[in-house]
Symmetry: C2
Subunit: 241 residues, 2 copies
């Protein structure tokens, strides 16, 4: 019996049996400096496309190293074609939304600037690294892309044909969520802590592809709303059915 | 037109029109020291029983103060009779579970010691204060009790008649959640990060009132599982229907 390696690592490299994988300086530091692995140790690798491979350390250096893929231990598994759009909030809670989106299964994470968004800047590279780390820890074989900050009005003006939008509207409190059962791609939009502006709300309600849902009778923080909305969508239309 | 006061405060005191409420030293420090309120300022008060009242500061001191209730601005609203049982994890994530349980609507929060629980001690008073603060911020008129740490085996041995139990079992991955639609009180049990032991799992599956549910195909952290399970329960059986 073979055991799945405890350390999982996302690499931007093709994976296949006997494939050699060269590590970056940061990856080498993590595996050999922090985790103290030596040659012969096993690591699980995934790249978001080829599933998950057991790989063996064949060269361990301070500034680099090499692994060789052995057998494939899990097939590639993709989350549903679901975007999670949210207005960035405080750092820890933004990190949390990114982490939870990976665990719960989103394909793409889009920080959104709305009229009442406080945070006008994000560190896209830091959030992307956070998403990668979340995937490594939760056993996913896919890492969602975290995009740069988009303006909500521009994104809606250039909305992709056919993609449905579920948006969480406090003003709907009490209304039951009814989402059309369709194979279309979807997006979830979580409003900022200050809520949508009247103009934004009117515009969203007028969109034929947008569906307002309520998340219970209490006021939820944006990070709670993100997790609740992802759960609601996954159990209704996604891969939790 | 009157505006709802921005500051909400939980008090352990009966509330009614013209009722005087004496503040504790900590509350006076918060209102007059931190928030800089002076006499005449308005605060919303709730006590978990009498709804929410607009109250006016009539005496503001460094070590105490007095408010007088004016009109009632919200009725008392109780969450469903739902317990959230979870194995404590790292401090920030335990705080998070408590906060989210309040927002999503639980009646009682029970930290649980399972065979694989790492944390054998909790600061009950700190977690209770965190629950109170979450209620103040999310507009709830009820603060769930956070209990001391319970051992899972003892709690199950002394389980209250009629209460149903939904437990989240990773080993069920892929199975669809089917919860009996009943008016009975419920409890949700979130396992520790290391999972349930074989003995615990066998015991849970043998209980007639226990229902295993899966939370999707990916591995969830305990804090994610808590929010997802609360959402699932609330949309299926609770006050989000």
């Amino acid at each position: 019996m073979t055991v799945t390696p405890k350390i999982r690592l996302f690499v931007e490299h093709p994976l296949a049996e006997e494939q050699q994988v060269t590590l970056s300086r940061e990856q080498a530091h993590y595996l050999f400096g922090v985790m103290r692995l030596t040659t012969g140790a096993q690591v699980a690798l995934f790249n978001g496309q080829d599933g998950e491979y057991r790989a063996e350390v064949v060269e361990a250096g301070k500034r680099g190293g090499t692994l060789v893929c052995r057998d494939r231990i899990a097939p590639q598994s993709m989350p549903p074609d679901l975007w999670l759009m949210f207005a960035p909030i405080k750092k820890a809670r933004t990190d949390f939304i990114v982490e939870k989106s990976v665990e719960l299964g989103a394909r793409r994470i889009l920080p959104i600037q709305t009229e009442f968004t406080n945070s006008e800047r994000i560190r896209q590279d830091r959030l992307q690294a956070h998403a990668t780390e979340a995937a490594e820890q939760c056993g996913a074989t896919f890492v969602p892309e975290v995009t740069e900050l988009h303006r909500l009005d521009r994104l809606l003006a250039d909305w992709p044909e056919g993609r449905q939008l579920m948006f969480c509207d406090e003003a709907q409190a009490g209304a039951h969520a009814r989402l059309p059962d369709t194979d279309a791609p979807w997006a979830i939009l979580i409003g900022p802590e200050g809520g949508f502006s009247d103009a934004e709300r009117a515009r969203l309600h007028a969109l034929p592809y947008a569906h307002a849902v309520a998340l219970g009778p209490r006021i939820l923080r944006a990070d709670t709303a993100a997790v609740a909305a992802l759960t609601l969508w996954q159990t209704t239309l996604g891969d939790w059915r």
